[in-house]
């Protein structure tokens, strides 16, 4: 039964045998070897340390997304991104077959990529490459490396990559299920991620701190900040229970500067409020900002603007990390050059803004407080549904639509929430479905939406929402009628 309780050693070890045997590269992985590998890693290649230092020094670290099918090519790619692109942190983005545990298909993808002389996979199939293959990646580069994916059941992936020396692991039982899967029951993915978190907790117990990062942006499409914040907090609570101590909560740009700054500010405060105490005051809490995660403009000059606009929000809000997009976003997996361009353009904005501050006449504070209240609405209902247990509460909440992610593919997501932009481009809630937002909050949203209805002379509707989905890719923030 789903519950937020630290996995016992017995329960963990029994699972572990089964997990390691799902694919040949897992067989015989010894935790001690992983520990040794992790202990060999110099401190400046530790992701957790980098995030902590960034918080202390008020720095913003840049990280791209990148992954190709073959080890050698992947290493070249990462080296290019750190040397030419100046990435502070490196990714290893996993291909979509591996994310679905379809290792046979990944194997075929590797073979066909070898034949084609170019990657036919959309990421690095880490499980197929095994511990030794993954270690080559980690050892070849100077910066800390993180596994980035979208895997409902990432137990084997975690076993292999952590044993190989990756020092951070993205994802969570909700954020890597609801936006990434169709039929995986939530209880199942939460359980799988409790295993992953417990694995990290075991490293932690042996003095090795691995960074964990719930995936903030979810579907990347008009997700109101409070939705992703609540899910991030839940995944944080689940991770901490399993012993995780370095935790980075994420948020994907919404597009209105005030709302984005407010969202990052509130996320930081919420993390402290909800996660510090359960960790016995020990958790190292940081935030990550994702540049616009929805549809991008096709034109590269316009894509640069979207990247820059995200960087501006981050420059004022100062998260510890930015996940950087590229001018190729709308078209396909970026070339390494395009990826480096994304990094450079972001860096230039950040350094031009480094000393600048913004105090939006209290509007940022007001919006942040609104978000915190919305999150409190949700968290209260989740805990009530779980009778105090956040894991059970999360499962029940998704069933009841009390947690609800817009446009998600999962059949376990209600899909009743409809977000929409207001007349200044803030994301608001048009239809709340079963979200337990209080009346005053909803009245506020409705009033803001009404302003837009009046300005456009049309009622809010699904057409308006569709216009909002397309807007940025068509060069606007708000999907105004043509």
């Amino acid at each position: 039964m789903t519950e937020n309780r630290c996995l016992s050693d017995d329960a963990f070890d029994t699972q572990r045998d089964a997990v390691l045997n799902t694919w040949p590269t897992g067989a015989g992985i010894r935790f001690e070897d992983g520990l040794a590998a992790q202990r060999d890693i110099p401190p400046d290649k530790s992701f957790a340390a980098a995030m902590k230092t960034a918080r202390e020094q008020n720095r913003i670290l840049l990280q791209p997304r990148a992954g190709v099918a073959l080890i050698e090519e992947h290493v070249k790619l990462l080296k290019y991104l750190e040397q030419e692109g100046g990435a502070d942190l490196l990714p290893t983005t996993i291909d979509a077959y591996t994310r679905q545990n379809r290792y046979e298909e990944a194997e075929r993808g590797i073979e066909r990529s070898r034949q084609a002389g170019t990657s036919l996979l959309n990421g690095f199939p880490a499980v197929n490459h095994g511990v030794a293959g993954c270690r080559q990646v980690v050892e070849a580069v100077a910066a800390p490396v993180q596994v980035r994916h979208g895997t409902p059941d990432a137990r084997l992936l975690a076993e292999i990559t952590l044993a190989a020396g990756f020092t951070s692991f993205e994802g969570g039982g909700i954020s890597y299920n609801i936006p990434y899967a169709k039929k995986v029951p939530l209880a199942q993915s939460i359980a799988a991620w409790q295993y992953v978190d417990r694995l990290v907790g075991r490293y932690e117990a042996h003095g090795v701190r691995i960074n964990r990062e719930p995936f903030g942006p979810l579907t990347g499409t008009l997700v109101p900040p409070f939705v992703s914040h609540a899910i991030g907090l839940i995944e944080g609570l689940l991770a901490i229970e399993q012993g995780v101590r370095s935790l980075t909560l994420g948020y994907g740009q919404a597009g209105n500067l005030t709302q984005d700054i407010a969202a990052l500010l509130s996320l930081k405060e919420l993390a402290d409020d909800y996660l510090l105490e359960p960790s016995g005051g020990e958790a190292e809490l940081t935030t990550v900002f994702h540049q616009w995660m929805g549809g991008f403009p096709e034109d590269e000059a316009k894509a640069f603007s979207v990247i820059c606009w995200g960087s501006v929000a981050a420059g004022f809000a100062r998260p510890q990390k930015i996940i950087v997009k590229t001018p190729h976003e709308a078209m396909g997996i970026p070339t390494r050059e395009a990826n480096a361009q994304g990094l450079k353009t972001t860096r230039q904005i950040l350094s031009m803004l480094a000393e600048q501050t913004l105090d939006d006449a209290g509007r940022i504070r007001r919006e942040a407080d609104l978000i915190k209240r919305e999150v409190a609405n949700l968290m209260k209902a989740v805990l009530a549904l779980g009778e105090g247990d956040v894991a059970r509460g999360a499962v029940a909440a998704f069933e009841a639509g009390v947690l609800d992610v817009p446009f998600a593919p999962s059949v376990h997501n209600a899909g009743k929430i409809i977000p929409i932009r207001d007349n200044e481009g803030f994301l608001r809630v048009f239809a709340k479905g079963a979200l337990p937002l209080d009346d005053e909050v909803m009245a506020y949203h409705r009033e803001r939406i009404r302003e837009r209805e009046e300005a456009e002379g049309r009622p809010a509707s699904f057409q308006m929402v569709t216009d909002d989905i397309y807007a940025i890719s068509k060069g606007k923030l708000i999907g105004r009628p043509r």
Binding site: A96, L120, M331, G332, P334, I469
Partner: protein, 142 residues
Amino acid sequence: MNKPTTVVLGVIGADCHSVGNKILEMFFADKGYHVVNLGVMVSQEEFIHAALETDARAILVSSLYGHGEIDCQGLREGCREAGLDDMLLYVGGNLVVGKTPFETVERKFKAMGFDRVFGPHANLEEAVALLEDDLRRHAKSD
């Protein structure tokens, strides 16, 4: 048309991109089609099975995540084997890995047996006009 034409819609392979799929469903339904939307992560077998079951005239395949080239191979042959000789096959999205000139992509997928190929910024009004056209032509040859 008395009875609305049925089309099967879905995102092929291990692809989870659901936003475009939801929009396409609404769009084609709005245009008067009966849309059987299989959602994301649909296998070739599921597409063919649904087309058989629902007497569909066209299968609209999406692929966004880059594995389209691998996932779509054999769909035309599968249709033929299932006796769906006349089935219209449309495909759209970010069909291959990496930014690629559209002509190259189109050639590739037409060679695989797709009737129409669309990029990620496809104009849906144009797509539906083509579909009407193709359906009319197919009807004649029936």
